[in-house]
Amino acid sequence: MNIRYFAWLREHTGVSSETLTYDPRWTSVADLVADLKTKSDGHAKALADMTLVRIAINYDYVDIDHKLSDGDEVAFFPPVTGG
């Protein structure tokens, strides 16, 4: 699976994307987030308060309880500020 980080989440994790092997125990995004937070202090900081984070799977916005499938691209980023 491809994981993407943008804006300050990218700065905290130190990576803009990373590839993970899909774990069938991840039934929802929340399970993935729990595992990602153990990867580094930066990951823990980026994902500490998920009310500040928006989630997209395959370019569509989803909630944290959305289910995951192998091959999904999962992105984490702050509320958008373009325009």
Partner: protein
């Protein structure tokens, strides 16, 4: 019905010319164009530059979906959305949205709608540089409220 994400600056008169004289009839009676510009100050500090990051792929998908929603809701003869990314300076053009229609209010509403949805749905993030350092711009609740009007 153009959607463009680019590092390059745009010329408003080119965008307007396309809306005013479409490749196919009918030509419109009303054209509304909105341009967003880099502001010059943040909390009384001059902004020296701004960097716009985005999520390639998702950005285009979201902008095209917003354009399609606008075309579904209003009788439009043309729509243009151009959004810049990368490093910009004070007063630089960030975004242009144009909507053309036979009807004045349709062109106003469609441009306004597209901006409200772009502001809350399109994955762009601004980082402003001032003498205070770089700061990610915070999303505003007023933008979510503006979206919920529609």
């Amino acid at each position: 019905m153009t959607v463009i994400v680019t590092e390059d600056d745009f010329d408003l008169s080119d965008l307007y010319a396309k809306l005013r004289t479409p490749d196919l009839p009918p030509s419109p009676g009303a054209v509304t164009v909105f341009v967003g510009l880099v502001r010059e100050m943040n909390n009384d500090r001059p902004i020296t530059s701004m960097t716009l990051e985005h999520y390639p792929g998702m950005t285009e998908k979201k902008l095209e979906a917003i354009r399609d929603q606008a075309m579904h809701r209003w009788p439009l003869t043309g729509v243009i959305i151009v959004h810049r990314v990368g490093k910009l300076g004070p007063n630089d053009q960030i975004v242009a949205v144009g909507a053309a229609s036979a009807h004045r209010q349709a062109s106003f509403d469609a441009a306004n709608f597209i901006m409200d949805f772009l502001k809350t749905e399109a994955p762009f993030w601004k980082s402003e540089n001032t003498s205070d350092g770089a700061n990610w711009v915070s999303a505003r609740e007023t933008d979510n409220k503006a979206k919920r009007r529609w």
